[in-house]
Symmetry: none
Subunit: 207 residues, 4 copies
DNA sequence: ATATAATCGAGACGGTACGTCAAGTCTTGTT
DNA sequence: AACAAGACTTGACGTACCGTCTCGATTATAT
C-alpha cells in the first residue's frame, strides 16, 4: 500500500494514433500546395485530413508550426551534394540545388509564404531558422571553412556573412520578385563574391 | 438626365475631403506602429481614424495598399546622400543609412511585415517593388555605373546583381533574423563584394 | 434654352424641372415592377432615373412615399364602374374589378409589399389609407348607402364594416397567401355577406 | 478517420447549449417588443442575448425565422376556448380572444410587422401561415363544420371562406389601420356574417 | 475483469475581421 | 434656386477562421 500510484514515466492511456499525425501532415502539405499560405487554415487542414481541430491544436502549437511541418512533407528529399574540394564548384553546386528547388517546384513560393507568415509568428520564424536555414547553411560553412583552411579564402572573413551574400539575393528575389531566379544566377553570384567587383588593375592598386 | 456633357474634364461632385485621407493615413501609420501588421486591420484603421470602413474601401483597393500608404507616412523623410565619387565610401554611406533606418526606427520590422504580407497579396508586392525598392536601388545603380564608367569596377557586371549581393543579406536578416543587423555590417558587406573573398595570392593564381 | 428663363419677376432661381419628377416616378415604377419592394431602393431609383439622390430626398419625404408614387404611375388607369342600382350586381362588379387588378397585373404583390412596408413607416400607412383605400371604399359605401335608402339593406349596419367583410378576405389572401384569389371569389363573398350563412329555416327561427 | 460508425443515432460532439437557444429567443422577443420589426436585427439580437452572430446564423436560416420564433416566446400562452355548441356564441368567443390579443398586448403590431416582413421573405410567409394562421383557423373550421352538421349553417358554404370574412376585416384593420379594433367588433362581424345584410323583408323576397 | 487514462472526431460557442449594401446628409460645380 | 455628381458616416448584412470548450467513443495499461 506504499504507493499505488503507478510510475509516472509509464505511458498510460490510448497511445497516439500515428495515422492521425500523418493524415494531418498530408492534409497540411496538400492545402499548402493548393492554396498557399493565404488559403492555409487550421480549419481547412481539419477538413482535408478528417482530423478534428482539437487534435491539431493539441499537437501543433500554432498555425505556423503546422504549416512548416506540412511544408516538410513536401520537401523531405533534402539536398545532399558531394563535395569536391574546389570552393567555386562546390558552392555553385549547392546554390544551384537550392535554386532549382525554388524555381522548379512549388516550394519556392510556399517557403516565401512561410517566411512571410513568420513576420507575425516569432515561433515560426525561429522554427524556420533552426529547421530550414541552419541545416542548409552548415554545408556552406563547411565548404568555406575548408577553403579557408586550405588557404584559398581569406581567413579573416565570417563564412556566415559570405553565405548571406550568396543566398541573400536569392531569397530577396524570391520574396520581393524584383528580378527572376535565372539559371545562371548561382554561377554569377558565386563568381562575383569570389573575385569581387573591382576592375583587375584597380584590384591590384587597392590591394 | 445626365444631359449635361458640357465638359467631361471638369470635376463634379463633392471634392474629396483631404482631411479624411490624412486621418486614415495617420491612423494606418499609427496602427502599424502600435500593433505591427499582425494587428493591422481595416476595421482598426477605421476606428482609429474616425473614418468609415466604406470610405477606406473606396480609396484603397486592399489592406496591403493601405498598409503601404500608412507605412509611408512613417518614413517620408527619405534617404538622401551626397555622392563623393568614391565607390566604396558612397556605397557604405548609402547602405549605412538604410541599415540605420532598419535598426534604429520601428520601420525595420514594419517593412518586414509588409514584405510578409506581400506574399499573400501580389498587388502589395508590386507596390513595394515600385515604391520602395526601385527608388532606393536607383541610387545604388548610379554609384556603380559611375564606377564602371570610371574604370574602377568591372564593366561586365550587372549593377543590379551587385546591389542584391549587398542588400540581400540585410533583408534576409531583417526577415529571418538569423543574425543581427550590426553596426559594421555595411562596411563589411561592401568590402567583401568589392574585393572578393579569395586569398590575395590565390586570387592571382585563379585569375 | 427656351424654358430656362420662364419669368424673372415671379419665381427666382432655377424652376423645378418637371422632367426630373417624371423620370424619378417612372424609375420608381419600373424598379417596383422589376424588383418588388424588396429590391426597391432610393439608390436604385436614382440610378434608373438619372436623378440624384438629393433631389429625390428633397421632393419625397421617405422611401415609402416614393414607392407609393411610383406605384401610382403603374395603376393610374383607375377603376370606374357604372352603377345599376342592384346592390348585388354593383358590388360584384366593383369587387371583381379590384380582384382582376390584383390577380392579372403585377400590382397585387406590389401593393402587398407597400402595405408590408407601411408596417415600418406610419407615413406610408397613412398615405395608403388616404390615397388608395379610401377612394376605392367610397364607391362601395355609395352602393351600400343607396341600397339602405332603398330599403334593400338593413339601415342599422355600418357600410364600412360591410365593405371590410368583403375586401378583408381579399387583402388577407393577398398578404398572407393562405388561399388563392379565385375567379368566383367576388361573387361568393358578396353572396355570403348579403344573405348570411344561416340555414334558411334556422334563419327564420333565429330572427 | 471517422472510422467509428458504431451507432449513427448517437449524438456526437458538444451538445447544443440550450441556454444559448433560450437566450437568443428571449433576446429576439425582447427586441421585437422594444423596437418592433423596424428595429429588429440579427446584430441586435446577438447583442441583447450575448450570443454570437455566427451561432444565430447557424440555427436560424433567416431574420424572419428568428423574428417569428422570438414572436412565439411572447405569445406562447395560446388561445383555448371551450365550445358550447352555439355557433354564434362560440365564434364570438373565439374572435374576441384574438381581438383582445391584438388590442391589449403588443403582439398586434408585432404580428402586423411580421406579416409585413413576410412580403419580402416567402419563407417567413409560409411559416406564418403554418404556425400562426392555420392552427387558429382549425378551431373556427371545427365550429362551423359542427354547425353545418347540426343544420344550423348552410351546408354549401366553405368554412374557410366564412372565416376569412370574419378575420379578414380584423387583419385588414390591423395592417392598414383605417378603422380601430373596437370592443364590439367581434360581435358585429359574427352577427353580420350569420344573418347577412339584406333587410328582413327583402331577405324574404330574395329567398 | 475493471478501473484509469489518454486519444480522437464531432460539433457548439464567443469573438474578430472581412467585404458589401443602402440609408441619409453634406458639399461642390453647373445650369 | 434646382440639379447632378459624388464624398462621407452609420449600421447592418452574411461569411470565414480563430481558439476554447464539451461530449461520446475508442483503446490501451494497471490493478
Amino acid at each position: 500500500m506504499a504507493d499505488t500510484k503507478a510510475n509516472p514515466d509509464v505511458k498510460r492511456g490510448r497511445p497516439r494514433q500515428l495515422s492521425v499525425r500523418d493524415a494531418v501532415l498530408a492534409g497540411a502539405g496538400q492545402l499548402l500546395l493548393q492554396a498557399g499560405i493565404k488559403g492555409f487554415s487550421i480549419e481547412g487542414v481539419a477538413r482535408l485530413s478528417g482530423a478534428s481541430k482539437v487534435t491539431i491544436y493539441k499537437w501543433w502549437p500554432s498555425k505556423g508550426a503546422l504549416a512548416l511541418d506540412g511544408f516538410y512533407t513536401l520537401v523531405s528529399p533534402s539536398i545532399d551534394t558531394t563535395l569536391t574540394g574546389d570552393v567555386k564548384q562546390d558552392l555553385v553546386t549547392q546554390v544551384s540545388a537550392v535554386l532549382a528547388l525554388f524555381r522548379d517546384t512549388a516550394i519556392g513560393p510556399i517557403l516565401a509564404g512561410l517566411i512571410g507568415e513568420a513576420q507575425r509568428d516569432p515561433e515560426l520564424a525561429a522554427a524556420i531558422r533552426e529547421r530550414w536555414l541552419e541545416p542548409r547553411r552548415r554545408c556552406g560553412v563547411a565548404i568555406l571553412e575548408a577553403a579557408q583552411a586550405a588557404g584559398h579564402v581569406r581567413p579573416d572573413l565570417d563564412p556566415t556573412m559570405v553565405l548571406d551574400q550568396i543566398y541573400g539575393p536569392i531569397y530577396l528575389r524570391l520574396l520581393v520578385g524584383h528580378a527572376p531566379l535565372t539559371d545562371d544566377l548561382a554561377a554569377t553570384l558565386v563568381r562575383t563574391i569570389l573575385s569581387g567587383i573591382l576592375a583587375s588593375d584597380a584590384s591590384e592598386r587597392q590591394a
